[in-house]
C-alpha cells in the first residue's frame, strides 16, 4: 500500500536464481511479496515475523521474500518469478496486489495464494485479514481514559473502509468511558509518506490532541514525532512499536498471523489447501500490545475487561448509530460485521473529519 518507485526488488529477484542445494529436504517454498521493508516496525514486519516463525517451526519450509514491490504490473512479474522458483504458496501481502495476484493464480492452478485482503475466493485463492476494527474499541477506551484534553488524533493513509472502521471503533470506545472525547482524523493521502505523517502528527498536537493513533503502514514516524513532543500514542500493526515511545506509549494493536499461516503451510504440504475467506479478530490474528509505564492499573484492568468482551464477540458497530453529519446510519439492532468493513463510508458521531 505504498506509492512510489522502487528498484531494490530487482536486486532481490535476481538473488532468487540460486539453485537449491541437493541435500535440502525442501517440502514447501513460500513466496512473499511485500510493499515495503520487512523491518518497518509495522505492517510488513508483522508478516515477516509470522512467516519466519512458520519457517522455523515447520521443517522443510523455505521462504523467498521480495521487499518493496510496487502495486503495479511489477507485482505480477515478481509473483510469476516466485512461481518459476517453485513457490507453491504465495502471500501477496498488500491490498493493491489484488489484480496481479488473481491473474497469476488463474494461470497457475497448482499454486496456492493467500491474499491479505478481501474479494472472491477460488480453489487456489484464499483471502484473509486480521479484523482490527472491533479491537480498536478497547484502544479507544484506553485513549479516552488517558486523555486530558479530550481530543484524540488519528492519522490515516487513505479513507478506505477498514481505516474508517478503525477510527469509528476507536471513537466509540473512547466515548464509552469519556463522553467528552472526540477523535480528529488527518488523512495523509498515502500509506507511507513519512514526511506528511510527521507533519500530520504535529498538526494534531498543535490543535490540542494529546493522544495520537494511526493507520499507516509503519507507525514509527507518527509515534516518534508524538513522543518527541511529549504526547501519548496508541500503536498499530506491530506490538514491537512500543519501544519507540518509552514515555508516551499507552498500548496498541499488532498482528499475530503465525498460527493461521502455519495451518495454511501445512494444508499446502498435505495437499488439502482450499481457498477460503478467513477474518479473525482480537485473540487470534490481532493482539493487544503491553501497556506503557504511565498507564494506571485501573485503566489497564478496564481495557483488558473490554478486550475480553470483544474477544467473546462484542461488536461495537451495533445500531443505533448516527454518523457525524447527523444521519442514522445503523438502525437499532443492525450490525456491521467484519466482512462488510471494507464498504464502510461514514464517520460515527464524535469523529471530526470528512469521510467522502
Amino acid at each position: 500500500m505504498k506509492s512510489g518507485l522502487s528498484v531494490s526488488w530487482i536486486v532481490l529477484a535476481c538473488c532468487l536464481a540460486a539453485p537449491p542445494a541437493f541435500s535440502d529436504p525442501t517440502q514447501l517454498i513460500i513466496g512473499v511479496v511485500y510493499v515495503g521493508a520487512i523491518n518497518d516496525y509495522g505492517y510488513n514486519a508483522s508478516f515477516h515475523q509470522a512467516l519466519t516463525q512458520v519457517a522455523t517451526n515447520l521443517p522443510g519450509v523455505k521462504l523467498v521474500e521480495v521487499e518493496n514491490v510496487p502495486e503495479s504490473g511489477e507485482a505480477e512479474r515478481v509473483m510469476e518469478g516466485l512461481v518459476q522458483q517453485g513457490a507453491k504458496l504465495i502471500f501477496p501481502t498488500s491490498f493493491g496486489y489484488q489484480d496481479s495476484a488473481r491473474k497469476v493464480a488463474k494461470r497457475h492452478k497448482d499454486v496456492a495464494f493467500a491474499f491479505a485482503g478481501d474479494g472472491d475466493t477460488a480453489k487456489n485463492f484464499g483471502v484473509f485479514f486480521g479484523s482490527t476494527q472491533a479491537a480498536m474499541y478497547p484502544m479507544g477506551v484506553a485513549a479516552g481514559k488517558m486523555t486530558k484534553t479530550n481530543k484524540l488524533g488519528f492519522v490515516i493513509g487513505m479513507p478506505i473502509g477498514y481505516a474508517l472502521g478503525n477510527v469509528n471503533a476507536f471513537q466509540l470506545g473512547a466515548r464509552s468511558v469519556n463522553p467528552k472525547a472526540r477523535t480528529v482524523v488527518v488523512v495523509t493521502g498515502g500509506w507511507s509518506d513519512k514526511a506528511k505523517e510527521a507533519e500530520a502528527a504535529n498538526a494534531l498536537l498543535d490543535q490540542g490532541c494529546d493522544v495520537v493513533a494511526m493507520h499507516v503502514d509503519s507507525p514509527k514516524t507518527v509515534i516518534q514525532t508524538v513522543e518527541a513532543r511529549g504526547g501519548m500514542s496508541i500503536g498499530f500493526q506491530s506490538v514491537e512499536a512500543r519501544v519507540l515511545a518509552p514515555k508516551g506509549w499507552i498500548t496498541g494493536l499488532g498482528f499475530t498471523w503465525a498460527p493461521y499461516f502455519t495451518e495454511l503451510a501445512k494444508s499446502v504440504i498435505t495437499g488439502r489447501f482450499r481457498g477460503e475467506a478467513v477474518y479473525q479478530g482480537l485473540g487470534k490474528m490481532v493482539a493487544i500490545a503491553p501497556f506503557g509505564a504511565s498507564v494506571p492499573p485501573d485503566v489497564q484492568d478496564l481495557v483488558n475487561t473490554v478486550a475480553a468482551k470483544v474477544e467473546k464477540g462484542f461488536n461495537p458497530f451495533t445500531g443505533p448509530l448516527t454518523d457525524n453529519t447527523g444521519n442514522l446510519v445503523l438502525p437499532p439492532g443492525a450490525k456491521v460485521g467484519a466482512d462488510q468493513m471494507g464498504r464502510m463510508n461514514w464517520y460515527v458521531d464524535g469523529v471530526i473529519g470528512k469521510a467522502r
Binding site: S8, N68, G189, K194, A195, E199, S218, T221
Partner: protein, 306 residues
C-alpha cells in the same frame, strides 16, 4: 486548547519548508551556472539515506549530517562529470541521476530501515518557551538546519550576487562562451556550483530523515525534488525569493493538514491537491516572464573550451 490557525500554519510551513529551502538554494546555484539537474529528487534521497545510515551506524547525527552533505556533493559531481566533461544532455542525465538516486539510496539505506536514531538536537530559547502559543506548537523549537536556513539563503545570495566567484558563475550561466572569452573557466565554475548545490541538496534530504521523520524509507521524498525545480522558477533564480517560495509551498502543504486537524469539512483529497495546484498557478503566472529571469545558457551544453 486550540492553537490559532495562523500559528499552526506557520509552524507547519517552517517544518516542511526547511528542506525545501535548502534544496531550492542548491538547485538555484546549479541553475545559475547554466545546469538544470532534474535528478534533484535522487540527490535528496541520497542525502536522506546516507544521513540516516551514518547516524544509525555511528550514533552521531552531526556525522550523519556531514556525510549527507558530502554524499550530495559527490552525487552532483558525478552529474557534473556527465554533463560538463562528457557533455551529455542535461535533461536525460538528470533523469538518469534520479533513477540512480532511487536505487543507490535504497541500497544504502536497506540495512537501516526501522533503525531508531537520536536525530539532530533541537533548541528553543527559554524566553520564548514562556509564551503559551509557542509552547503548544513546534514554533522556535528547531534544529541547527532550521535556525540557520535564512542566514544560509542570504549567504548564497551574497555569494552569487556580491562576489567575483558568483559573477563568474552567473556569467557562465548566461553565456559560457563570453565567460570563457573573458578568461573564466566555465567547466571549473560549473563543477564548483554543482558541488555547492549538491551539498545543500544532501542537507535538505538529511533534514527529512534526521529531523522531521527520524525514519528512512524508500522514496520518502515523495516528489519534493520536483516541486523544488518549480520553486526555483517561482523564485526567479533568486536565493532571497527562495525563502518566500519555500515558506509558501511548505504552508500550502501544512494548510491541508492543519485544516483537517481543525476539523475542516473540505474534502481531504481536494486539500491534498492544494500544494500542486499552487505549483501550477505559479508556473502559469510566471510563464510569460520566465525568459527574462532564467539564465540564458540554462540547459545548453558548452563545447567551446576544448
Amino acid at each position: 486548547m486550540t492553537t490559532p490557525l495562523i500559528l499552526g500554519l506557520l509552524a507547519g510551513a517552517i517544518l516542511s519548508g526547511t528542506s525545501l529551502l535548502y534544496a531550492t538554494l542548491g538547485e538555484t546555484i546549479a541553475e545559475r551556472s547554466g545546469i538544470v539537474n532534474l535528478g534533484l529528487e535522487g540527490i535528496l534521497l541520497i542525502g536522506a539515506s546516507v544521513g540516516f545510515s551514518v547516524t544509525a551506524a555511528s550514533g552521531n547525527a552531526w556525522l550523519g549530517l556531514f556525510a549527507a552533505g558530502m554524499a550530495g556533493g559527490l552525487a552532483n559531481l558525478l552529474f557534473g562529470w556527465l554533463v560538463v566533461t562528457r557533455k551529455a544532455n542535461q535533461l536525460a542525465s538528470g533523469l538518469a541521476m534520479m533513477f540512480f538516486g532511487f536505487g543507490a539510496s535504497a541500497l544504502i539505506g536497506a540495512r537501516y530501515v526501522g533503525a531508531v536514531i537520536v536525530g539532530l538536537p533541537k533548541w528553543r530559547p527559554s524566553w520564548l518557551a514562556g509564551f503559551r502559543w509557542v509552547k503548544a506548537t513546534t514554533l522556535f523549537n528547531y534544529d541547527l538546519l532550521t535556525w540557520v536556513a535564512i542566514p544560509v539563503a542570504v549567504l548564497v545570495w551574497w555569494a552569487l550576487f556580491r562576489t567575483r566567484w558568483g559573477l563568474g558563475v552567473r556569467a557562465v550561466g548566461e553565456s559560457p562562451a563570453v565567460a570563457f572569452a573573458a578568461g573564466r573557466n566555465p567547466a571549473v565554475l560549473q563543477y564548483q556550483a554543482l558541488s555547492c548545490g549538491g551539498v545543500l541538496g544532501g542537507l535538505a534530504g538529511a533534514h527529512l530523515s534526521l529531523s522531521l521523520t527520524l525514519t528512512w524509507s524508500e522514496y520518502m521524498t515523495a516528489g519534493r525534488g520536483f516541486i523544488v525545480i518549480a520553486l526555483v522558477i517561482f523564485s526567479k533564480w533568486n536565493p532571497l525569493r527562495a525563502i518566500a517560495a519555500a515558506l509558501l509551498f511548505g504552508g500550502a502543504e501544512s494548510l491541508q493538514l492543519q485544516m483537517q486537524a481543525r476539523g475542516s469539512l473540505i474534502s481531504p483529497f481536494l486539500l491534498d491537491m492544494s500544494p500542486y495546484i499552487l505549483t501550477l498557478i505559479i508556473l502559469v503566472a510566471w510563464g510569460g516572464s520566465r525568459r527574462l529571469a532564467a539564465p540564458a545558457g540554462l540547459g545548453r551544453t558548452f563545447y567551446g573550451s576544448e
